[in-house]
């Protein structure tokens, strides 16, 4: 599958991060859902979804996040989201109460630190050489 131009993977401090940008709406949500499904390996402690560059997120996008949280939690994996506090999508996510299942962070560093703090020591995975 061709990687989506508005979605990329990184690893920060051993934690997988999915960075999205642009407008995530009813047309893109199915692709994002499919892509995120493979983003977390079994041995990963959790996943961070960075929405800092997302300018638009509707209920279909919101639902992808809820579903993802459900899946990870059922596998005892953590999900965290990065959403700038002044963004429209922060208001959207607050309206649908995503915070009840997914912690929202203002920046990526904060999110990484949060997940690292929760992670047991043996789950640490070194960064790939070129990351």
């Amino acid at each position: 599958m061709t990687p989506l131009p508005y979605l990329r993977f990184e690893r920060h401090d051993g934690i997988p991060v999915v960075l999205l940008d642009g407008e995530i709406d009813i047309a893109k949500a199915p692709d994002v859902r499919a892509e995120l499904a493979g983003a977390v390996a079994n041995e990963d402690f959790g996943l961070i979804v960075d929405l800092s560059e997302v300018t638009y997120l509707d209920s279909s996008g919101v639902t992808v996040l809820f579903e993802l949280a459900d899946r990870l939690h059922s596998r005892q994996q953590e999900l965290a989201a990065v959403v700038p506090s002044d963004a429209l999508i922060r208001r959207v996510l607050e309206l649908v109460n995503l915070e009840t299942v997914v912690p929202l962070h203002s920046d990526l560093t904060e999110a990484v630190a949060h997940l690292r703090a929760l992670a047991p020591d043996d789950s640490e995975v070194p960064d790939p050489p070129l990351a």
Binding site: T2, P5, Y6, G22, E23, D25, I26, A27, K28, Y56, D58, S59, S60, V62, T63, F66, L88, R90, R91, V92, E94, L95, V96
Partner: protein, 709 residues
Amino acid sequence: MTSARVEGSGRGLRGLQRVTDAALSHLSLDDLLQELLERVTEVIEVDTVAILLLSDDGRALEPRAAKGLEEEVERGVRIPVGQGFAGRIAAEGRPVIVDDVEQAELVNPLFREKGLHTLLGVPLLVEGQSLGVLHVGRLESRPFSADEANLLQHVGDRAAMAISHAHLYDAERQARELAEASLERLARLQRITDAALAHLALDDLLDELLQRMKEILHVDTAAILLLEDDGRTLEARAAKGLEEWLERGFRIPVGRGFAGRIASQRRAVVIDDVDQADIRDPLLRDRGLRSLMGVPLLVSGEVLGVLHVGSLESRNFSHEDADLLQLAADRSAMAIRAARRFEQEHEVAKTLQSSLLPAALPEMPGVTVGARYLPAGVGAQLGGDWYDAFQLPDGKLGLVIGDVVGHGLSAAALMGQLRNAVRAYALEGAAPGDVAERINRLLRELERGRSATFLYAVLDPDCDEVVIASAAHPPPLLAPADGEPRFVELPASVPLGVTRRPSYTEVTDKLGTGATLLLYTDGLVERRGEDLQQGLSRLQQVAANPPEDPQELCDMLQEEMLGHTASADDTALLAVRSMALDERLRMLLPAEPESAATFRRVLGRWLSQAGAASAESDEIKLACSEACANAIEHAYSPARAVFEVEAVRDDGDVTVTVRDWGQWRAQRGEFRGRGLLLMKGLMDNVDVRQTPHGSTVRLTRKLGRQAVA
């Protein structure tokens, strides 16, 4: 006796003069010989006269004219030089007298049969060369005297001169006739190879050739049949004197009938008498044709068809006739092949063009697009210009214009590849600069050494902003609603395909309501004998106060900039105009996920027109999009797979109504529930009505209120 001699001499002198008479010099040889016979009898009293001429090989004498001895000529005997009476004269080159034929040896038995008694013969000499023999004979036994021998030798000498002249005259006349015949033949050939024919369209050329063949060969019918694509049938393509053939669309299988036989045998067929020929071709018989001649139309050994002629009278067609017909056939075959190639190329060009240019231009409220592709003039090659316009998944508008350097099928084909690749990259969501860089890479991959100028612009109808990346393409012209048109300033850039890692910087500009953006290729502004700057200035002038409809602008530019003269280069034009939306916005959108983005752009444009601030506009767009998503999900029935959006501003209130005609489906999970949550959270009022025939969601919000957060 004396008186007789004198009388004889007088006759002789007068006769001698007659023999050298200048009037004889214009007679043909045969006429001259006859005339000489007469005149010899006037000079000398004899019963028979004969003239024998040396054969071409010089070995025998051939009796050519005789009086009293006509049988000798009729029998066509050849008398070897040295044998018999005449042969001896020719061999010895002097007069011979035979006093008594009965006693002589080796004398033509005819002389005896005729009862000739005495003979006198003299050689016909010109400058010592023997031409033949003249001899005379008498039935009575009066022997020839030495005087008579002298006299006859004189006559013979003069006759020889006359014969020699006549020979020359004949040779000259034959040469002249030969020359005239060749001229005539040449003229006939020229009528077929006439260069002027080359300017005729195929059908006119075939008609003209057939008409000329009819005249040259003096025939009653002439027809050309062409092999159909299946290679099994001949169909009448042109005919003279057989016009009913054409009307009936005469067809005949290869191998059958006259024409079919020529095609299968691939060679000329001549039939002198139709009745004798094993040809069952009712059409030819019905026409009453007696003789037929036909040749195949061959090009590089391939049979294209058949050319045949027919005569109502019985004819024996000569080799020359057949050669002429073949020449006409070759001429026709070449023209047919050229025309077919042209047709094929034209067809390929048309197919290419239609596959390379978008079938339809995108439509969107508030934005109108017009375009035009102008191929180069007749006779010019295919060009590599293209334009493209499409809606992007995020509801923005992609506008492409490009020009592959070079001409011909290869340029056009490469253009097609680039066009598709641009679309593919663009629809993936790549930004203009990124698209240009990727296309550069692709072009270098596809055809090293080729280059292209290229420009990709993305117009966001929401804010009227256009983001442009250009690869050495002429700058777009931006004509505002009021004011002078200006060229969009672009950084210097290299064409696609030239360097390995070019950087294409994006430039952002703003259209503004009522403004037109024109993309074009250099064919529009380049004119022979004019520098590019002049062309650009001309465009700037012509495009001032453009017509509102971009399509009309393209038409106008074609008229004003290119006129009616055939252009050497092709030209592509793409114009887009940003327009004010109606105060009451109404649009029908296909019930597809992709419509959501379009809806947001258009609603955003309308909201800013209605005076909404950016933040509240974003919230209203999101809330209303949820209603759209609802409509899109409902549209399971393809019967009416559209939904309707209406937006009005009443005092400070904005009301957006989304209506669908789909089957209501029960909410699945919490998805729609969250949608409703968002609608209610972001709007002042949300009213949802569901019926078995569809649902209507009405959302209202007062402008200028505090944002939700």
